[in-house]
Structures are given as C-alpha cells and as structure tokens.
C-alpha cells in the first residue's frame, strides 16, 4: 500500500464524515423547508436550528479538507474534475453560500419577514446543495470525467441518469440522517411530540430512500454497466452491509433505540460511499487514470500525511469536546426554546 493509497483512504474518510455530519445538517435544512407554516413549524424549526447551530461550521470544514487534500494528493485528477464539472461545482458553491450565510443571518435577525426570507434561502439551498454534490459523485462514478483539462462534456457529465439518481439519493440520505439524529435531540430536549414527529419521518424516509436506492440500481445497470458490474462484484459485501444496516436501523427506530440507531443509520450511508470507492479502485478517472499515476510528488504526500496525523491529535479531542458539550448538556426545562410560547 502506497502513501497515495493511504491518502485516498483519508479522502474517503473525510468525504464520509462530511456526508454523515454536514449531510445531516443539510437534511435538517430540508426538514426546515418541509416544516410547514410559521406557527405550526416553529417548534420543529427551533429544534433544527438548535441542533445544527453550534456544529455546522465544524462539519462543513470536512469539505474544505477534502477539496484541498484532493488537489494536493491527485493534482491532475483534481484539475480534470474541477474543469469538467465546473457548472455543478459552481452551483453547489452558491448553495453552500446560501445555506451558511442565510442560517447565520436568520439567527441574527429579529423581524418575521427577514427570518422568513433567510429561512427560505437556508432551506432551499439545503435541498439544492446535496443534489449538486450528488450529481458530481454520479459523474465520477459513471466514468464521465475523463483525464485532462475540460476534456469531459460540461453538461452531460453531470446531467445523466446516474448523476440524477445520485443527486436524488443524496437528498434522501441527508433527510434520512437528519431525521434519525433529530429523534434523540428532541428526546434530550424533552419534546415528546417532536420525538414522535421525527420518528415517523425517520421511518418513512428510511423505507423510501432505501427502496429508491435499491430500485435505482436498475438505472445504474442501464446507464453505467461497468460501475454496476463492480457494485455487484467486489463491492457487493459493502452494498449488502448498507442494506443490512438500513434494515437494522428501521428495527431500532421502532423499538426506541434512538442513540444506537445513529450508528447503524450512519453505517448504512457510509457503506454506500465505501462501495463506490471499492467499485472504482484503483481507477480515479475513467478510463485509465489510476491512483498511482495521478498521485502528486511523493515527498509532498508523505509530509502532508504526517501533518494530518499531527493535526488529528489536535483535532480529535477538540471535536469530541465540542460534541460532548452540546450532546450532553441538558437545558433547564423552563428556558428551553421548545417550551417557550407553545
């Protein structure tokens, strides 16, 4: 195993964490969008804002880390990727601006009109961003980003059946993860009605997204037969792992194991990403750009790997502290925003 392989693993791990953490933040925004009228949706919106407020920026940094590590580790692949896919990347970038800025602005504004405007921007961009990011994954997985600068079709590379499938799947996955995570958050806030609401949503999206993911494989089979063959071949154990974890999650939700289901739901999603990685390895860009060929200078790769290792020693305890502060502290019932004014 080369340093480039290890860094590819780090990239995939970073992408997984981005999906599991920031994906859930986008999903929370989707539930905000679907929360209904101002009065009816207020409690749900407040739980969502409260859950993602302290952590979304840290969760977002995984994407920056993945992007910079991508160009450092595989410069020619990154150049091909970014130049061919510049349209969905620009759209995703605008979605990222809209989500992050509008969420902060809504928090800082006091009138209903402003809060509605920023809230709508936040929610709509929470829906759009995962879609575009999903189409980008679909473009890579279906082999539509050839090596070389802007060699691919700037439209059909990401507007094709596999990309649309991946984009919709990304939306579904984000919504599913958010619903699952929010059940426990609602329980910690002592909001029983919200627990029931997100429980229903987690079950519904779990069944829906799971079924759509499996049914959608027919699209992949027709549109990207090579990818499908690998998913059915060496990536099959991971596909089955995802399926199993998804089914277990449904059982855990119905039996009220709201903390444990976070792990299995995350596993169900992560295994999809890993299956993609396993299916494609060692080819980074179809048809023939491999990990070894695309890898940057070996000295740089080793240095960056060491730097990341040292950085992890700094980051891991900090991150655990951040999550522990907001996942363990129990707010006083009388100051809970979920109780106020209801």
């Amino acid at each position: 195993m080369t340093v480039a392989d290890v860094l590819l693993g780090v990239l995939l791990a970073g992408l997984t964490l981005y999906t599991l953490l920031a994906g859930a933040d986008f999903g929370a925004g989707i539930w905000d969008l679907l929360a209904g009228g101002t009065r009816r949706g207020a409690a749900r919106r407040e739980l969502i804002a409260h859950s993602i407020g302290p952590v979304w920026e840290a969760n977002h940094v995984w994407l920056i880390l993945v992007i910079t590590l991508f160009w450092t580790t595989f410069p020619p692949a990154f150049a091909a990727f970014a130049s061919t896919l510049y349209i969905p990347l620009t759209l995703a970038a605008l979605g990222i601006i809209g989500r992050g800025a509008a969420f902060a602005f809504r928090k800082a504004s006091h009138t209903l009109v402003e809060q509605r405007l920023y809230g709508a921007t936040f929610a709509i961009s929470s829906l759009a961003t995962p879609f575009f990011l999903g189409t980008i994954v679909g473009a890579l997985a279906s082999g539509r980003v050839p090596p070389g600068i802007a060699e691919g079709d700037i439209w059909r590379s990401w507007l094709n059946p596999t990309s649309i499938y991946a984009g919709l799947l990304a939306i579904g996955v984000c919504a599913y993860l958010a619903a699952v995570y929010l059940i426990h958050d609602a329980r910690r806030a002592n909001a029983d009605d919200l627990v029931a609401q997100f429980r229903r949503r987690a079950l519904a999206t779990g069944v829906l997204v799971g079924a759509a993911a499996v049914a959608g494989l027919a699209v992949v089979a027709a549109d990207a037969p090579d990818l499908f063959a690998d998913l059915r071949g060496r990536a099959l154990p991971l596909v089955l792992l995802s399926l199993a974890a998804g089914i277990v999650s449904l059982v855990l939700i119905t039996t009220g194991r709201y903390r444990l289901v976070r792990v299995t739901a995350a596993l169900a999603v992560a295994a999809v990403l890993w299956a993609w990685g396993a299916a494609q390895y060692p080819v980074l860009l179809s048809p023939d750009l491999t990990v070894a060929e695309a890898a940057g200078d070996p000295t740089v790769l080793t240095t960056v790997l060491v730097v990341l290792g040292v950085g992890a020693l700094l980051l891991a305890p900090s991150l655990l502290w951040l999550f522990s502060i907001f996942q363990t502290s129990r707010r006083h019932a009388d100051t809970s925003p979920l109780k106020r004014g209801t």
Binding site: P54, I64, I67, T73, A79, Y86, G100, I149
Partner: protein
Amino acid sequence: MLTELLAQDAVPADLMAARVQMALSLGWHIVIASFGVGMPAVTVFAEWRGLRTGDAVFTRLAKRWAKAMGVLFAVGAVSGTILSFEMGLLWPGLMGRFGDVIGLPFALEGIAFFVEAIFVGVYLYAWDKVPPRAHLFAGLPICVAGVASAFFVVSANAWMNQPRGFDLVSGEVTNVRPWEAMFNPATPPQTVHMIVAAFMVTGFGIASVYAVAMLRGRRDRYHRLGFAIPFTLAALLTPVQVVVGDWAAHFVAEYQPTKLAAMEGLAQTQAGAPLSLGGVYVDGELRYAVEVPNALSLLAKWDPDAVVMGLDQVPDDQEPPVTVVKWAFQLMVAIGFGLLGLSLWWALAWWRRRGPPRSPWFLRAAALAGIAAAVAVEAGWVVTEVGRQPWIVYGVLRTAEAVNPAPGLATGLALVAGVYLLLTVATVLVLVRMARHRDAPVAPQEGVPEPVDSPR
C-alpha cells in the same frame, strides 16, 4: 486546426471573466477574513478585562462582538470555501501542475480552520454552558488559528510571486520540496504585511461603528470603550505597518522589479529615479505625474543615485497593466499615511491630556477609517495580483495558460456576481441592524434577551 482556432477565440473573454470572478471572490473574502483574524483577539481581550475587573461594560462589549463575529465567521467560512472551489474550476492549469507543490500550506490551513470552527462553536454557543474561565480559554485557539490560517494561505499566494521548492525538467514538475515552497522569499514580508493589515481592518472597522454612534450623541462608557479598545489596537499597529510596508516594497524592488516598475510607473531604467505621484501610463510613458527627483532610488535602494529598473526592460508581452497597479499602490500608501496621522492624533491627545481627542473631526475621520482600511487592503491585493500579471506563477506559468478552457465562464461570473451582490446587501443589513439593536442575545435560542451584565 479549427478547434484550436475556436479555443483561441474563446479564451480572452473567458480569461477576463475568470480573473474578475477570482478578484471578486477574493476581494470579498479578504475583508471578512480580516475580521476573522483580528476580531477574536479584540473580543477575548474584552472578555478577559470583564472577568478580571468585574466591569460589566467589558463583558457586554465582548458578547456584542462575539455575536458579530459569529455572523462574520459563518460568512467567511462559506466565502472561503468558494475560493477553494474556484482554484480548481477557474485555474485547473495551475492546480493540475502545481497542486501538490502548494498543497502543504493548504493542508495546514485546513487544520487551522478546523480548530477555528470547533472553538467558534464552543465560544459562541457555550457561553453559559462552561465555566467562565474555560470559556475564555476556548477563545484563545480561535485567535491563534485565525492568524495561522492567514499565514498559511498568504504563504501559498507568496509562492505564486516567488515560486520555489520544485524543479522543472522539460516542463515536468519534479523533486518537490514542500517546506521550501511554503517558506519562499516572499512569505515573510507578505504574510506579516497581511496579518498586520487584518488587525488594522478589524480595529479601525469596529471603532468606526462606535465613532458613528458617538457622533450621534451616544457617548456613554460602553461606546467610549467600544471605540477605544479596537482603535488603540489599530493605532499601535499602524506605525508598525508603515515599517512592514517599506520592507515589503524593498522586497518587491529586489525580487520582482517589474512589479515595482509598474507600481511606480517608471518607464525608463535610470539612476536617481524620481518618485512620481499620479499620472497615466500610455504608450510606454507616464503622463501628467508629479515627480519628486531621486526619491524612488532613495526609497527603493537607500541610495538617491541608485539605478532602478524601468518598464523598458520588460518585454511587451510581460508587462502588467501599469496604471491600475500604480494607482492601487498609491491609494494604499495614501490611506496608510492618513491612518498614521489619525493614530498620531489619538496618541498625542492621550499623551497631552490623558483623554481622547475632543474635536468632532477626529470622530468623523475615525468613522471613515474603517472603510479606508478595508479599501487599502483591497488596493494592496490589486497591487500584488495585477502587478504579477501576465503570470499566475511568476516567470513560470501564464494566467492565460492556467484558465479553464471550458466555455461559459462569463455566465458563471454573472451568476456568482449576482449572489455576491445579494450576500453583500444582506451582510451589511444584518450587521447594521445588529449595531443598532441593543442587548440582543448571543444565540437566538437563548430566547429572552439576557441581562448581559449579570454575574454568572
């Protein structure tokens, strides 16, 4: 053949669109990022004074600034992300060849930014969840990481001015030495210049908000301190920045003489070169400028008779847009000296009377200083970026060779420009509203506006 012609046709307009988009995104981000670098220190200082003295005014200021910092940090996080996307989607020719060479500072920046994001989460949302002392200490990593981020990112830009740490063997990049690339000769002057500038933008920027309030008659202790803390910081750094700026100029004179010639609009290589103020550079000569004899040689080389290289030594196809660079440079210097004067006024008043200047003109000038400092930073970036043209990597790679050849970049620019316009309007509105709204909570889910001066 035909495709080649088409490609050539497509490039100039799209190259300009890509450059404008990059300038817009970078120019936007740099102002917000300056606050990201400087504001944590100012806020943590106020919090520390509040804890030490028990003076509630300091704590109120710290909470207010933390809230503004939360908005600015969120906006800065996303506008910075866009830049990392744009590095690839606008300049794949740069990233494909040199992505690994400049990868190290970006990996380090990623870690620093992570530290910042984590502790900002704690700092903004856990004010009442952790003990006061722990909260104060949670602010320190934000201060350190902000400065570190600025250092890493600017060192990558410095590399574009002084590309080092790799060998070119028949066009192939080999034998990369990442630390040498990161610590290239331009890194020390450029990073120090930018970090000091960030603190000045923060200091003058926050102070200008309170200057406006004081001009409107709100002169209680809250507003006086809200002005004095950031303004004093900026006033102390301004003379430092004049020295650092001189260092940076000497660096440019030695390492990037073309850029210096453009900054000064010096047409002919000559001994005892004059310093020219203003003017327009047309057809290889500078017109309508006021000249100070021998001053340029003296400033750039410490010798009034020294030879300074002019633009006549630069091949036509390697000449940057002179007038833009020259005016941007002079604007930056003029603002710098204006801010120096304002800082001296402040120092003099304290030295003479142990109090702030009494003239309303001081506050009027201070109210403008925040915008002026930000304009100076923009002008400085125009100098370093436009002054490097036509190179994206000085002497190694042309900007035109690095740009994404895909069609439609101009449309992308229009879209991005529209979003940034909305973002600007919204950011300004939110911050203005925030400055007017008194005693709002740090995080809205705290619900009721808490009595900020209550002992915890």
